[in-house]
């Protein structure tokens, strides 16, 4: 047991903190609106220029080759400084790990630096009408073009920030005879390719953050395939592993939210009843427990382990902790909770946590079947 960071990690923290405190922008509009997205991209470029955009990546792609510990430290400092949600996250946290694992050196060189620099902005094309958490129900299809490359046709939906992004990754059925998770292939697609129509639509929290993406006989080159034809399911599972695991929700975010909740209570002593103080303490305890669980997980990963199905524990825990935490904030706000403010938006967004990246119902199945060994049927 050693729960102290090294001197060099402390130095890394100090550097990150200093830069973030000086540079984190205030009052950006939501990154899920057109205007806010542009503001966020500007911020992401600033991050990149200072080499804070992708700290864990190799230096040649714009990173600092930071360790997992340093990445956790950076995330803590990022949220502590009030850094806004990353509009590049679907690329950096979902696509990039897959490109690192499955991409050719040429693909890595082509995709990663532009992603880090926020030159290419990636959205995910997982869901289709009629297939939400059921990725294997993909019906969008791709067929080989006789002159080379592929022809893609189909429809993706619930694509977060799809109306503002420049590129999309997603699964297409390359074997028309196949069913379920067989015969799928993972594609990376520039959204300005001929035949693609993107239609943004409004989200519950008022932002136009969703899009439908229609593909009609869209031509992409062979290099658009990531990880081999027909290998899409395996490749995608690797990405959803990232999505559910450590990378999407670092503990820093919830620790920061819990601290903000404590501040909110301190600013409203009359509203902070003993019952709410108990809930706030619970929220803080849970955020801290999530951090500690993550530290033990990272210890194991650094020693060569793999989180595997354990990441389902993370997903369920942080997503439900987030709802409790944000809901407690609304209770503190009382009638003011109905105003369209940061806490209420966060609450509504938190309700999506148990839905996206594999519903918590599916995660609990995974926990029971893969971690506890209960029978599938």
């Amino acid at each position: 047991m050693d729960l102290e960071y090294t001197e060099s990690e402390k130095e890394f923290r100090a550097q990150a903190r200093e830069w973030l405190v000086a540079n984190v922008p205030r009052g950006l509009k939501s990154g899920d609106t057109a205007e806010g997205f542009a503001q966020h991209v500007e911020w992401e470029k600033l991050l990149y220029d200072a080499r804070w955009a992708v700290v864990s990546w190799p230096e040649r792609y714009g990173g600092r080759a930071a360790s997992l510990w340093e990445w956790l430290i950076f995330e803590e400092e990022y949220y502590r400084a009030g850094g806004p949600p990353r509009v590049t996250q679907n690329g950096i946290f979902l696509l990039a790990p897959t490109v690192f694992d499955f991409g050719t050196p040429e693909q890595q060189d082509a995709v990663l630096p532009r992603m880090a620099a926020a030159d290419d902005l990636w959205c995910q094309g997982w869901s289709e009408p009629g297939a939400g958490s059921d990725l294997a129900a993909t019906s969008s299809r791709a067929k080989p073009d006789p002159t080379g490359g592929w022809r893609l046709t189909g429809q993706k939906t619930w694509t977060t920030r799809g109306a503002f992004c420049t590129h999309m990754f997603g699964l297409f059925r390359t074997d028309p005879e196949s069913e379920r998770h067989h015969g799928l292939t993972y594609f990376m697609i520039p959204l300005d390719t001929q035949g693609i129509t993107v239609r943004g639509f409004d989200r519950l929290d008022g932002d136009e953050g969703f899009a439908e993406v229609f593909l009609e006989d869209v031509h992409v080159p062979d290099e658009a395939v990531l990880g081999g034809v027909g290998e899409g399911w395996r490749v995608a599972m690797s990405t959803t592993g990232s999505e559910r695991g450590l990378t999407l929700r670092s503990p820093g975010r919830f620790m920061s939210a819990a601290e903000n909740l404590i501040s909110l209570a301190q600013s409203r002593p009359d509203a902070a009843t003993p019952i709410l103080r108990d809930k706030i303490a619970s929220a803080w305890i849970d955020a801290e427990a999530y951090r500690l669980f993550t530290l033990s997980q990272v210890t194991s990963i650094v020693a060569g382990g793999s989180p595997g199905a354990q990441s389902s524990l993370n997903k369920v825990f942080w997503s439900e902790l987030d709802i409790r935490l944000q809901g407690t904030a609304l209770d503190l706000l009382g009638q003011e909770a109905e105003l369209d403010g940061a806490w209420t938006r966060s609450f509504m967004f938190a309700l999506a946590g148990p839905i996206y990246a594999g519903t918590n119902e599916i995660q609990r199945n995974i926990i029971a079947e893969r971690l506890l060994g209960l029978p599938r049927k």
Partner: protein
């Protein structure tokens, strides 16, 4: 002992339900998001034809002379369609108050359907519907029978500023800083307290109606929607979510009706019973809204789908007129805890 609506009550409820189902469609509610005043006016005109403004006003003063047991089912119907209108405030809180306080001008206008009333009864600076209401009732401690004051629209507008609710139909006004005095209503403490109780109860009834709609929409959705080759509603986890939702609604509903009875009878337990009703209704509506979102999945998140119209009304309204925790504290005190 007969714990059910009688024939007249059932007929009235069905009449209002038919009207609201036909008129207060999701499209009308969406229209009210764009123009809350116009949406409310259109619906109020329809309800005025049925005499709803005067529902709680004595017949001698031109109303229908109905009691809480008659009116509460109608408010539940209004909740069911997320009627974008201060119906509880106007017809259930203000109308009998105007009658009691002898405010003839206001009462006449109200009975003609020409007056909508907003309330800031529980000391909050926020006034739902304050942006377009013709009168605003204001009190810092109505539950304890303190005085109630009334502002006209001009005074309210001058003293307040529009703020954004997550449910745009609520057209919330914020009365920051010093509040105008307004006109003090000539009421006994008991009358003021009763007005507060009607507001709490009416709000509880609307929340139960909203919860029923959220549950019905979700039930229909999970029967239809297929994932992994089967209807989503065939998964045990989804079944159990919806069973919990039904339980929450079914055990809140009778408590709301009982509180109506206690008000009508002037029961010595009416304050406790109203508090219990609101505590259960708020908790049930919040629970059902969360379950509805979870069982829908991503589609719950788009404003093109109707669910958010009802869910946001719950999130906006569940803490008004006393949150579940606040109301349970009232019950605890009544029980000697």
């Amino acid at each position: 002992m007969y714990f059910a609506l009688n024939d007249d009550q059932t007929a009235l409820r069905e009449g209002v339900r038919d009207l609201l189902t036909g008129e207060c469609t999701p499209e009308l509610v969406r229209g009210a998001w764009a123009d809350p005043a116009a949406g409310a006016a259109a619906l109020w005109a329809q309800l005025t034809e049925m005499g709803l403004p005067g529902a709680a006003v004595p017949e001698a003063q031109g109303g229908l002379g109905l009691g809480a047991c008659d009116i509460v089912p109608l408010l539940e119907e209004a909740g069911r369609v997320a009627a974008p209108i201060p119906l509880v405030e106007t017809a259930f809180v203000a109308a009998p108050l105007f009658a009691a306080a002898g405010l003839e001008t206001e009462l006449d206008l109200l009975l003609e359907g020409k007056l909508l009333v907003a309330c800031a009864l529980d000391g909050s600076p926020l006034v739902p519907y304050g942006q377009f209401a013709d009168r605003t009732l204001i009190s810092s401690d109505a539950s304890a029978g303190r005085s109630i004051r009334m502002l006209d629209a001009v005074t309210t507008a001058a003293a307040g500023s529009a703020v954004d609710s997550i449910d745009a139909t609520r057209a919330v006004l914020s009365l920051a800083g010093d509040r105008p005095e307004g006109v003090r209503l000539d009421l006994s403490p008991a009358q003021a307290t009763a007005a507060w109780q009607r507001g709490v109860l009416g709000s509880a009834a609307e929340l139960v109606g909203l919860a029923r709609t959220l549950l019905a929409q979700t039930t229909a959705y999970v029967k239809d929607r297929r994932q992994f080759g089967v209807p989503v509603g065939s998964f045990q986890a989804i079944k159990h979510h919806l069973a919990d939702a039904l339980i929450a609604v079914e055990f809140a509903g009778p408590a709301v009706m009982r509180a109506a009875w206690s008000l009508d009878q002037g029961s010595s337990n009416r304050d406790r019973d109203v508090a219990m009703a609101k505590a259960l209704a708020s908790a049930a509506a919040e629970r059902v809204a969360a379950i509805a979102v979870q069982c829908h999945g991503a589609i719950a998140y788009t404003t093109e789908y109707d669910l958010h119209l009802y869910a946001k009304r719950v999130w906006a309204g569940s803490r008004c007129w006393g949150s579940a925790e606040w109301q349970r504290r009232r019950v605890a005190v009544a029980l000697g805890l």
